[in-house]
Amino acid sequence: MTDAQDPFHAHIYYDASDRTAAEHLHSELRANKGAGDLVDVIFVGEMTDRPVGPHPMPQYEVHFFRAALPTVLERIKTNRLKALVHRLTDDDLADHTSEALWIGEPLTLDLSLLDPPGQNQGIARFGKSDF
């Protein structure tokens, strides 16, 4: 059974043209996570100005519980940023493909770098660290 504590990631992408907007949201999330309507946002990773893992362009990672999904999505849309939003399950491939919610035009991920079924390392580092 799923519930409000389901773990989610948002990967928020940016390039030179929208780095300022991405940085603005990054600062807002870091400053306000854990309180108010961001009480269920528990971790905001570093802005990574290069491709990392399966992600083909700069991004940062936000960890949050299901209950924060509406407010996280609204902020991404308000700032007109591209993002991949997904739940963390034991199927890392599905999380990043068939179950992935894209805000903006989807990117092509390097799926070869995802964890094999049943070994999603993202679950262990949820709320603690990014890549």
Partner: protein
């Protein structure tokens, strides 16, 4: 009996765009001097009705129309083949995702609201659909 769905909105142009882009419906006819839009493509025709905020829906009501998020005892479920892509499309069109798809024995459910504060759901049935939870199965 045919079923017609009427949805109050305070911006008919925005509503036509949203119901077209979010659900893939088409604008049929504009009616009543353009204050009503007929949206076709679903199993029931949807009529978008221009009704300004604050106007009274019926005599004796305690409050007028309010297009901030509100509860109504009736809502629409849109049945879709791929609930994740349906959510993606609706959010892109301006819907607010209020709960990501959840899985049940009968299928999957996602909860959203439109730009006029009306809640709606996407449902993607499993092979069994509501037979999975039916007390009495149809023959």
């Amino acid at each position: 009996m045919r079923l017609l769905l009427n949805i109050d909105v305070d911006d008919i142009g925005r509503a036509i765009e949203f119901y077209r882009d979010a659900f893939g419906l088409d604008l049929g006819r504009r009616l009543f001097d353009g204050s009503v839009a007929e949206m076709v493509g679903a199993s029931s025709t949807i009529y978008l009705l221009t009704r300004p905020a604050g106007t009274m829906p019926a005599s004796g009501m305690a409050s007028g129309r309010d297009y901030r998020r509100h509860w109504t005892p009736v809502h629409i479920d849109f049945e879709v083949a791929d609930i994740v892509r349906a959510v993606e499309r609706a959010v892109e069109a301006g819907a607010k995702l209020e709960d990501a798809p959840r899985s049940y024995s009968w299928g999957r459910l996602a909860m959203l609201s439109d730009p006029f504060g009306h809640g709606f759901c996407f449902v993607q049935f499993s092979d069994q659909g509501y037979d999975a939870v039916a007390l009495d199965r149809r023959p």
